[in-house]
């Protein structure tokens, strides 16, 4: 089998696939998410902390583990692979880009952050 091997970059290559699949929305659907980077950081940070704690607990309990040949090999305290931290950035960015892309197309749908005078509640 002439299968392509990404070796220690396998994990981040999958994250690259995720970003490849969504970053074009910023241009094509004018999502303007990356331009609003302060709001983006405030949305990502709390979830990143909570899920990193869960991750450290799960690794310590042996719920899951990573193939050492397929990750970068850089670990944060708690045996947390750097790749996992990048996951908790890439997936939220992709999610918010998707939400704003749907809003871009469905501009009449209420999202919940409209100014109060424009919404019924």
């Amino acid at each position: 089998m002439g299968s392509v091997s990404f070796g220690q970059y396998s994990y981040v290559a999958i994250l690259g696939f995720v970003l490849l699949g969504c970053l074009w929305l910023e241009v094509a659907l004018r999502t303007r998410v990356l331009r609003r980077w302060r709001r983006l950081l405030l949305a990502i940070a709390p979830a990143l902390v909570l899920f990193a704690i869960w991750d450290v607990y799960a690794i310590a309990q042996g719920h899951w583990w990573f193939d050492p040949d397929l990750i970068l090999g850089i670990h944060l305290p708690g045996e947390l692979p750097l790749d996992e931290v990048l996951f908790f950035i890439a997936i939220p960015v992709a999610s918010i880009l998707t939400l704003e892309a749907v809003r871009s197309v469905k501009s009449h749908w209420r999202v919940g952050d409209e100014p109060l005078d424009e919404v019924g509640q």
């Binding site: 999958i14 405030l42 992709a94 918010i96």
Partner: protein
């Protein structure tokens, strides 16, 4: 606690946060479920790559299914797995996605970079451009 228990608990906790702590009520909105439907497809593909290629492996005592095999992919479907990944991963992902989106909307509602708003897509004229024609 097992991964199964934590995964179910996280979904319940984040839904409660969305409804009654942040009061963003994303789970009551078409825009959220339409977005999640798109995300769900890519979630299956991404989870499938992580688990199918064996980047991440799971302990059978902590999930519904069996321990990931040392060599080769786990079952594609069945034994608690969907597209190679434990169903728990879908719940983990849902909790992460809902919490992030609810926080994004929460900060926007608080006035943090509510603008510039999204849209319109490049293939549509903006209202301002339309008026000039």
């Amino acid at each position: 606690m097992t991964y199964t228990q934590l995964a179910v608990g996280s979904v319940v906790a984040v839904v409660l946060i969305d409804l009654w702590v942040l009061r963003t009520r994303m789970v009551t909105r078409a825009v959220f479920w339409s977005s999640y439907a798109i995300i769900f497809f890519f979630q299956l593909v991404t989870n499938g790559m992580f688990t199918g290629f064996g980047v991440v492996k799971y302990d059978g005592d902590s999930i519904i299914g069996e321990t990931s095999p040392a060599v080769g992919p786990p079952p594609f479907l069945g034994e608690g797995r969907i597209a190679y990944a434990p169903v728990e991963d879908l719940m983990f992902g849902f909790a992460l996605i809902l919490l992030t989106i609810a926080l994004w909307v929460f900060w926007g509602r608080r006035g943090v970079q509510r603008t510039p708003v999204a849209g319109p897509p490049v293939w549509r004229r903006s209202p301002a451009e339309g008026n000039q024609v």
